[in-house]
Symmetry: D2
Subunit: 141 residues, 4 copies
């Protein structure tokens, strides 16, 4: 059940590895995005639908701390929660773990800002904000 933190899984793709034999670091931001899409859907706000109404949530800051490497074919779990919320911005926290051994692979934070269809600063609709409960970080992110 949705209680403010969601969890989604991805399987590491060959395309996501690099010649170091591990997942290339930029792909963790893509996984965070996958988790965000999933989070908003479970929180009752389909982002694909939101964009059709003209609202966009653009990333204005991203931070990732890498602990362990994910490798090809690993099943990876990304937990996601809103850690700060204002009229104009929302910040998400992420905990990224390998499923097989529960090893912490990374933590991350991203801050999103609301833009309208003309890319001007906008506000996050009240009906979206009402569905979101800020969650205290379960781990340092």
């Amino acid at each position: 059940m949705f209680d403010g933190t969601t969890s989604v899984e991805v399987q590491v793709r060959y395309a996501e590895t690099d010649q170091m034999g591990i997942v290339y670091h930029a792909h963790y931001l893509v996984w965070c995005d996958v988790a965000r899409t999933d989070f908003l859907k479970k929180a009752g706000s389909n982002y694909a639908e939101l964009e059709k109404t003209g609202l966009k949530l653009a990333v204005v800051e991203a931070n990732v701390r890498y602990k362990e490497s994910a490798v090809y074919d690993d099943l990876v779990r990304i937990q996601c929660w809103p850690r700060e919320l204002s009229r104009r911005t929302i910040e998400f926290g992420y905990l990224i773990e390998r499923v097989s051994d529960s090893k912490r692979l990374a933590t991350a934070r991203t801050t999103m800002i609301a833009l309208d269809s003309k890319n001007s600063l906008s506000t996050i609709p009240l009906e979206v904000r009402e569905k979101l409960a800020v969650v205290k970080d379960p781990v340092r992110v």
Copy 2:
């Protein structure tokens, strides 16, 4: 000078390698796209400008034959030429080589179709087609 075939260079990015230690095969299509952007610009049709007029060239077929592997930091040259042209479609050929030893890395073909702003079938504007001279394949693609 532009004579129907253009040449552009890219340097292999770490992000483009995979755990086999070589460039992941899907990235060659990105390089072909880089070469297409460059080709159209040199042929007098800036694709970024074309899209603003509502025209889109969508890929309907892509074929790549891989001969040798490109590796991290290789300087790679992509030659591009129009090999077939009709009112609705344009097919490009590509020759991808390593600059240092002129080794052939791959050849490719992509077919593009003209779409309007509503994604309906459209035609390639006459002023674009007039700038394009079909070139006989210099190599098997």
Copy 3:
């Protein structure tokens, strides 16, 4: 059950879209790779394990025909089957469909060649080939 053709699903990521509002064409090759990983696993040959024994399957040819566009958040099904098999090469066919309306998005073919740990031509191990049954193309690829 595994009967020579497998089916796997991916959900379109925001990162996979381009400014045309659709999935960028090169990502279909990544989905085919996801389907191949899944196929080999279901056929009893884990590719991650195969690579640890020194065997690599490198792509030597790829062909994709694009019919309809996939968009953000679409659930996409990729069917995969071996269409040709020899001591040194294996060719896979792919059928890529949107799950919601069963629309055919693309078909594809990729040919893989066996390489050893020194990237020299090798053969596909007999125990891998014995698990594979060539399947007649269910659609034109």
Copy 4:
């Protein structure tokens, strides 16, 4: 001339855009990596060569602040400098600007850690460190 800060340019690829019509945020980390490769080369340490000796520089932290959007075909300049250096880690700063109007697109920081060929903690070779002069951040990163 190399004086502790380097500058490299990339042209935005169509593949780097997303359906918001701008460069997808994760690609900025790839550009930082391109700048790092270029920096090390200009500083006298070819990273491709370093990896062949068994040394790897793995990213342990990455931070990006996004100010303005880059769009398709923009020429983008990435400045890169070492902002902190120790026996085991090196932190780089980045300033990412559009060339045409010198607009600041983003700033970033990444911290790298030295690993040996077995992925154990290692040290950055003295001959690499001697070539690096820590530079005071020219902008807030």
